[in-house]
Every structure is written in structure tokens, then in C-alpha cells.
């Protein structure tokens, strides 16, 4: 496995972990919060809310804007 494949494997591991945690949260009784619950909790305060929304906006800026 070269470094290119290793780097991609790392991203895939993160992606699979996210799917796995979400499935554990929504399909089992495991003590794992769903991603939506985490986001709702993080967005409970004004600054948390604006911070999450700005992070979302930044993704758009990063991939498409000057």
C-alpha cells in the first residue's frame, strides 16, 4: 500500500466510522447520540449555532469561491 492509498484509506475509515456510529445511534439501543442530536446540542447557544452555520458556509466558499 503506497501513501496515496493509505491517505484515502484514512478518509474511508472516517466515513465508515460516521456511518457506523449513526447506525448504532438510530438502529440500536447503544448509548451513542445521533449526529442530529449532537448538532442540535452544539447549536443550542447563539454562538454555537452561528459557528456551525458558518462552518457550513465556509465549506461552500472553500470549494467554489475565490
Amino acid at each position: 500500500m503506497n501513501t496515496h492509498e493509505l491517505t484515502i484509506a484514512g478518509y474511508l475509515a472516517v466515513l465508515v466510522s460516521i456511518v457506523l456510529l449513526q447506525v448504532l445511534a438510530t438502529r440500536t439501543r447503544a448509548p451513542v447520540p445521533a449526529l442530529g442530536d449532537l448538532l442540535t446540542r452544539a447549536m443550542r447557544t447563539r454562538t454555537g449555532r452561528v459557528g456551525v452555520l458558518v462552518a457550513w458556509a465556509w465549506v461552500g466558499l472553500h470549494f467554489f469561491a475565490k
Binding site: N2, T3, H4, T7, I8, G10, Y11, V14, S17, I18, L21, L24, A25, A30, P31, V32, P33, L35, G36, D37, L38, L39, T40, R41, M43, R44, T45, R46, T47, G48, R49, V50, G51, V52, L53, V54, W56, A57, W58, V59, G60, L61, H62, F63, F64, A65, K66
Partner: protein, 213 residues
């Protein structure tokens, strides 16, 4: 507490870590050749400072606001729509979203039209979401510690993995085949107009999902 206004209450926003994170992003994006991003982050950071300062001045009269926090984002009173109107509004939003994705996706990446489209929509969504979720949602008082830690581990690992790939590039602006960042990996998808439109549609849908949280 009492009803007296505190001196320097207008600086209350600087107690919020998010403000410092936004200021750091503004600084680093500006020096790395993305001044537009930097200016926008600076505007939001200063907006939060002004907002928090205004809320801090009113805090003496509102004991309900928790100390050290910018206060909970409260849901706005929901306006009930009839079933037919709700379907029409949803259809109009969906059609608008698809039109946006197709039109902005047709613009070349990093062009001024694409930049204007992203900034315009991003501003609208942040402003809509600023004052609270569009509808009331139950917030769990306590999240399971172990499960929350697992999420934190995955998210932090993902961030560090991306950062290590970025730092292993020949330079911060030069892509590397050996250590591709997510941006590098998504370049082939974003090279075509349909690819850009699909990614924009997903970005838009996630933004709306966040506004409703």
C-alpha cells in the same frame, strides 16, 4: 446581579471561543490567499461580538440567560400552514434549490459569478439561522458520554488526517498525489458542471437541515 449595566459589557462576545476561532480563520485564510473568506469570517466574528454585547447589557434584566454563555437560541414561534400550502411552499423551495444548484453549478469554480452565488446563499442561510431554529426541537439535556466521545474521536481524527495531508503537500497551495487532501480528491467531481450541481445541491440541503436544528 441587579439592574445596572456592566462596564465593558460590549466586550462580552470575546469570552466566546467561537469568536476567537472565527478570528483565527479570518487571519489564516487572508494570509493564505483567500481574502474574501477572511473578510466574511471577520464580519461574522464582529457580528457575534456586537450581538453578545447587546445581549450582555440586557442580561441584568434577564436572569434566565446562563452566565458565561451567549444564551440559548430559541425557536421562533412557528406559523402553521395548511397542508396544501405546506406542499406548495416545499415544492417552491425544492424548485428554487434545484434551479440554484443548476445555475451556480454551471459557473466555473473560483469565478466571480460562483463566488457571488455562494456568498449570497451562505449569507441568507446564516442570517435566517442566526436567531434560532425555524421550528421548536427537543434538545436532550445530557448526551451519553461514551458515545459523544466516540463521535469526538472520529471527527478529531478526520480533521487531523486532513491536516496531515495538507502539511505533507510540497506547499500549502500545491496538490500532492501522494498525500491528497479532500479538496484534491473532489477536484475530478467538481470539474464538470453536473458534478458541481450535485455537490451544491447536497451543500444546500445540509444548510437547510442545519437551519432547522
Amino acid at each position: 446581579m441587579g439592574g445596572h449595566a456592566r462596564p465593558f459589557s460590549f466586550l462580552a462576545g470575546f469570552r466566546e471561543p467561537v469568536v476567537w476561532v472565527l478570528l483565527a480563520i479570518a487571519f489564516f485564510t487572508s494570509i493564505s490567499g483567500k481574502p474574501v473568506d477572511g473578510v466574511l469570517m471577520l464580519i461574522v466574528a464582529l457580528g457575534l461580538v456586537v450581538d453578545a454585547g447587546r445581549r450582555a447589557r440586557g442580561r441584568a434584566a434577564q436572569e434566565a440567560v446562563a452566565a458565561g454563555s451567549a444564551g440559548p437560541a430559541e425557536a421562533r414561534p412557528a406559523r402553521r400552514l395548511s397542508g396544501r400550502r405546506r406542499v406548495l411552499v416545499a415544492a417552491a423551495l425544492l424548485a428554487g434549490g434545484v434551479a440554484y444548484a443548476v445555475v451556480v453549478g454551471s459557473f466555473t469554480r473560483y469565478s466571480w459569478p460562483a463566488t457571488a452565488g455562494i456568498i449570497g446563499l451562505g449569507t441568507v442561510v446564516v442570517l435566517i439561522g442566526w436567531h434560532g431554529p425555524l421550528r421548536h426541537r427537543q434538545v436532550r439535556e445530557r448526551l451519553p458520554v461514551v458515545g459523544t466521545l466516540l463521535w469526538a474521536v472520529v471527527i478529531v481524527f478526520g480533521g487531523l488526517w486532513e491536516l496531515s495531508a495538507l502539511l505533507l503537500q510540497p506547499s500549502i497551495t500545491t496538490d500532492s498525489y501522494a498525500h491528497p487532501t479532500i479538496s484534491t480528491l473532489t477536484d475530478p467531481v467538481l470539474a464538470s458542471s453536473p458534478g458541481r450541481s450535485l455537490v451544491l445541491a447536497a451543500w444546500l440541503a445540509f444548510g437547510w437541515y442545519l437551519v432547522e436544528r
